[in-house]
């Protein structure tokens, strides 16, 4: 059944190296060097997929990264499966398995094809219009839409491949290795610039490398031979690095670019083991030369999307580079000379051309003359009005264009064919230029946008700059390079160039038809099935901005980002709205130029390397003792220590009870520690904390609350005065870095006159906290030389001490409400001090507890956790912590904000305690608090911020924020849950030991 459409040997294809691959389950053969598309075409397969909306049969359309239709799924149902791979880019390898997407049950018989016939009821914006109502049905609609939409399947297993990131710094980056890029790279590198040349394809030379025609010559050599010699030369230049299969994805400001280097996608799977698949290059270039070429434009006419319709340049590339004929009965349709280049190539290779249809009437072109000399029929002044053939084109219908190009006249002529090449001229690939912030200008004569204002040290050369013909390129590029690179001369001053290309073009964005537009399907965006009809409808419905029309019709929103059709969309909008192309602007070109895999973006930052994590010096002990861990910022903190058979609840109840009844021990090393020194240290603390600090005696500790300038609580912690001009501040675990940053900010910018120095010492100390009635006994055994009497060492004070020879700082402070001590030692002694405490506390049932128990114990005492019981809307007054706000201090950060009209409102949300009617009901943190369930809508008064079952009080306790809660003491409120309502009473947030007796117990 399959035909062999190989026509000749080619440099790129190794015909001695046969490769077998599967497409939709059937085995085919191609050669090393083939893309999946060229290999399929050689087997006479055009139909590769179905379109997104109408499920129309679609074929290979291009031969490059702009492909909208031929996107396939690779290695379906394996860990290496990948959707949306362009068949025109993927190189075949032994064992490659590809399948069609967006069709069910098969690409040949697709149930969704019914949409094609329903298209009159599926206009632009159909989904917006239909599925928005009634809103509650969205969930059902979504299921249906997602099922029928699928653009490929994402893998369900972890990615077995390795990816990496690499930084590259160079003097000159050249993007694109066509004739312009090769000339630029050679010129740059030979003049001493460290140069990097990248190209997305596996070979160098762009389209000139297969331009084998007497009509295009450089210094009397055929252009491809001349370029081949140049390529061989540049490969020897030392300060020139060349990377093929490398696609620049993004061009950011300051000449920072991201490129994806593809290292293994062309290899058989078994050869890829332990190799890096993609490398994300982060390139910082002093100068950038963009030589990204241009993309051929399609032509917009009824049924311009059938399999077998390709860009004319793609047909030439398949014939000349891959040695593949796309059809046996070819028709070319053009509005410019490019199709004749293709025709000459095909003719030379003995590929049959039925006819050429040209929009232009009278053209003086050497290329046309040669074609006509060979008795190929050229229909001048004609246009294609329709095509037929469901899964492969079999006929084109053509008619004569009226003088103004607005209508078709005369009678219809049918030409049978199996392949139609279309050429609407060329669009400069300005994507990267505009991504970098460059501004375009519109050139009226050939209707193209070209670079105009450069935002950084860069230049665009060759056809991406609108110089399309060989003579234009080679006369302009050397001059541009000379100026850009500050050179006296280049090697390319006196080239003799022969180019037979006639630049005339008859540009008609939407070609006229003998039918009314409503009865036609002229596709503008192939991948998203947006037609000229849809664009006109959007304009009729009032859309004017190009950005809005794009989103409403989805033009240009596929994985190809509308590389083919966007210009036509603009053209049709301009024509319909009666505005000028240049004034309309373009839609925004956004990175990436072609899609990137997630693997490329994340590189090595996967699994345990996804984020760094910090361990305390006592971490190993927690692991040995089977702790469960909790992430706090980047820290791994011991959460609880389950004994055999215990769940979290059991463990936390046991730990909490032990901490109050005997002794508990906590690793508090993660708390932020900032060393503060300088003659103005006291004054500084006065300004950053809400309470007074100047009278704090040496050797004493004080709890402080820090606000933002807007009056909202920001951080809290205990700060100790070590000496006259020396303090150690502790911050919350998560807040350490931001607090230090904020303090530095004030010191450097607002109060540079203060003599204060801040040093982060969080990692320098380990902190062991021992609490409970036996804590004094335990700690005094560990530090026998220290006098632990209440007179010498009262609550909220500090002592320098020694454990053996190890210096330590001991603070008698408490976050649990129990008598407790914190021992701070140099980090590397942390674990041994912990173990000493464990040993000394053995007979007193010393129990290690984690963060969960810590949270429970402090909640019993009504101590807040910044970030849990507060968000950025709570003032100290809202927290009922008025006692900590100094009335005497003239100023501190946030003071003025505490009596703004908004912060003095009585009905702000305030922190209160909550007790449940049934003491065994434990509230859910985050649950909403209401007073009246009958009011409609039910008014939310606040939410639960902390909630636990207290083993010491034998009841459920909770903290929450409630509007006007301060004045609601004793009042009953309701916590509505999914299946029930829980009744609660507003209570004092201090649930246990209101008199603080336990601190000295």
């Amino acid at each position: 059944m399959t035909k062999n459409l190989r026509v000749k040997k080619s440099n790129l294809i190794d015909e001695t190296y046969k490769v077998s691959f599967k497409f939709n389950g059937i085995t085919y053969y191609g050669y090393k060097g083939d893309t999946l598309a060229s290999a399929l075409l050689a087997n006479d397969i055009h139909l590769v997929g179905r379109s997104f909306k109408y499920h129309r049969p679609r074929g290979i359309m291009t031969a490059g990264s702009e492909e909208p239709n031929a996107i396939v799924q690779l290695h379906n149902n394996t860990s290496r499966t990948e959707p949306n791979v362009r068949a025109t880019e993927i190189e075949i390898y032994e064992g490659l398995e590809a399948s069609s997407q967006n069709c069910w049950p098969s690409v040949n018989f697709d149930v969704g094809g019914i949409n094609n016939f329903l298209s009159p009821v599926l206009p632009a914006g159909f989904y917006y219009k239909t599925f928005m109502w009634p809103a509650s049905f969205w969930e059902k609609y979504e299921y249906f839409i997602r099922k029928s939409a699928g653009l490929g399947k994402s893998p369900t297993e972890p990615d077995p491949d390795i990816y990496e990131h690499k930084y590259i710094h160079c003097d000159v980056l050249v993007i694109g290795a066509g004739v312009s890029g090769i000339v630029a790279a050679k010129t740059s590198a030979k003049n001493g610039y460290k140069t990097l040349l990248v190209d997305e394809k596996p070979y160098l030379g762009g389209s000139t490398i297969y331009q084998n025609s007497e009509h295009f010559k450089i210094n009397n050599q055929i252009s491809s031979s001349w370029l081949e010699k140049e390529i061989n030369e540049i490969k020897k230049i030392e300060n020139l690095e060349i990377k093929t299969r490398t696609s620049v994805a993004a061009y950011h400001g300051y000449n920072f670019l991201l490129a994806r280097e593809n290292l293994t996608d062309h290899m058989p799977l078994e050869q890829r083991k332990n190799k890096i698949r993609h490398r994300l290059l982060k390139i910082r270039a002093k100068k950038v030369i963009t030589a990204t070429g241009s993309l051929e434009r399609p032509l917009i006419f009824d049924n311009n999307d059938r399999p077998g319709i390709l860009l004319s340049s793609a047909i030439e590339k398949y014939a000349s580079l891959y040695g593949v004929a796309c059809g046996e009965k070819n028709v070319l349709f053009t509005n410019n000379d490019s199709a004749y280049e293709t025709a000459i190539s095909l003719y030379q290779k003995g590929i049959n051309i039925e006819a050429i249809v040209d929009n232009r009437e009278e053209i003086d072109s050497k290329l046309i003359k040669e074609i006509e000399k060979n008795n190929i029929k050229v229909y001048k002044g004609y246009t294609v009005v329709d095509t037929s053939g469901y899964k492969r084109i079999n006929k084109v219908s053509i008619m004569q264009l009226s003088k103004d190009g607005q209508k078709v006249i005369g009678s219809k002529i049918s030409i049978s064919c199996d392949c139609l090449g279309i050429s609407g001229g060329w669009t400069p690939a300005v994507h990267l230029f505009t991504q970098s912030g460059g501004k375009l200008k519109f050139r009226d004569e050939d209707q193209v946008f070209i670079p105009n204002i450069y935002p950084s040290d860069q230049i665009s050369i060759g056809s991406c700059n609108g110089d399309f013909t060989l003579d234009e390129i080679l006369s302009t590029v050397p001059k541009t390079l000379k100026e850009f690179l500050n050179l006296k001369k280049t090697d390319y001053e006196d080239l003799e160039i022969k180019s037979s290309f006639n630049k005339s073009k008859r540009n008609i964005w939407l070609l006229p038809s003998d039918k009314v537009i409503g009865k036609t399907k002229p596709f503008v965006d192939y991948q998203n099935d947006a037609t000229a009809k849809d664009i006109k409808l959007a304009l009729r419905e009032g859309f004017r901005s190009i950005e809005h029309v794009k989103r409403y019709t989805t033009t240009g929103m596929g994985t190809d980002q509308g590389k083919l059709g966007n210009m036509h969309a603009l053209g049709i909008i301009a024509e319909t709205a009666g505005s000028k192309m240049g004034e309309l602007g373009t839609t925004t070109f956004r990175p990436p130029y072609t899609p990137l895999t997630f693997g490329t973006i994340v590189g090595r930052n996967v699994g345990e390397y996804f984020d760094i994590f910090r361990k305390t010096p006592i971490h190993a002990w927690h692991i040995e003792n089977k702790a469960e861990f909790e992430n706090v910022g980047q820290w791994k903190r011991a959460w609880y220590y389950p004994k055999k058979g215990e769940n979290m609840h059991d463990a936390v109840q046991r730990e909490s009870k032990a901490a109050r009844d005997s002794a508990g021990i906590l690793d508090a090393s993660t708390l932020g520690k900032i060393d503060i020194q300088g003659t103005d240290a006291s004054e500084f603390l006065n300004r950053v904390y809400t309470n007074a600090w100047s009278k704090l005696a040496i050797g004493k500790c004080r709890y402080g609350l820090m606000l933002n300038e807007d009056g909202m609580v920001y951080d809290d912690g205990v700060t100790t005065r070590l000496d006259e001009n020396h303090y150690i501040m502790t911050t919350t675990t998560g807040g350490a870095a931001t607090v230090l940053g904020k303090l530095e900010d004030y010191l450097q910018t607002e109060w540079p006159e203060l003599d204060v120095y801040l040093t982060s010492v969080t990692d320098h100390y380990a902190t062991v906290s021992v609490c409970g009635p036996y804590s004094k006994k335990i700690v005094s055994r560990v530090i026998p030389d220290l006098d632990f009497s209440d007179e010498n060492f009262p609550h909220m004070s500090f002592k320098d001490a020694k454990i053996g020879k190890i210096k330590c700082r001991v603070m008698r402070i408490s976050f649990t409400g129990e008598h407790s001590y914190e021992i701070n030692v140099q980090a590397n002694y942390g674990k041994s001090v912990w173990e000493k405490c464990m040993e000394a506390g053995k007979e007193f049932n010393i129990t290690p507890y984690g963060t969960e128990t810590m949270h429970l114990l402090r909640a019993e005492k009504g101590f807040i956790i910044v970030g849990q019981d507060t968000d950025a809307t709570m003032t100290p007054i809202d927290l009922q912590m008025d006692w900590i706000v100094s009335k005497k201090k003239y100023d501190f950060i946030g003071k003025r904000s505490l009596y703004r009209s908004d912060t003095i409102r009585e009905d702000r949300k305030q922190l209160v305690g909550l007790l449940t009617e049934n003491p065994n009901d434990v509230l859910e943190e985050g649950a909403q608090i209401v007073a009246d369930m009958n009011k409609s809508p039910v008014e939310m008064l606040g939410h639960v911020t902390s909630s636990y079952y207290s083993p010491n009080l034998k009841k459920s306790i909770a903290l929450g924020v409630v509007r006007n809660g301060k004045n609601m003491m004793g009042q009953k409120l309701i916590i509505p849950m999914e299946d029930k309502q829980i009744n609660v009473t507003v209570a004092d947030p201090v649930f246990l030991d209101k008199e603080n007796k336990r601190l000295n117990a």
Partner: protein, 91 residues
């Protein structure tokens, strides 16, 4: 990604820095003397200019020093960099 010329360390990647909003907003010396409106002016009101903007930046992952940057927000070109306390360039 910008390249920022830290006045203490020299040219570094933007990722080493953090932006700190509009520059030259001085904290009032006597906040208690201010009306709600005057205080709100200091606290909340910031310019968002298309064009030349004076900004604060800090070299977070470097010397941790704050400094000022003059940036054209329309094209991200940095026109000048100067230390805290120094007068902004007039040209």
């Amino acid at each position: 990604m910008f390249i920022i010329n830290c006045p203490y360390c020299g040219e570094r990647e933007q990722s080493e820095f953090k932006a700190g909003g509009e520059a030259h907003i001085v904290r009032p010396k006597q906040p208690t003397e201010l009306s709600d409106d005057e205080w709100a002016e200091y606290l909340f009101m910031r310019k968002n200019i298309k064009g030349i903007q004076f900004e604060r930046w800090v070299h977070t992952h470097g010397c941790r020093k704050w400094f000022n940057v003059v940036r054209d927000t329309s094209n991200d070109k940095i026109k000048a960099v100067y230390k805290m306390g120094e007068k902004p360039p007039t040209k």
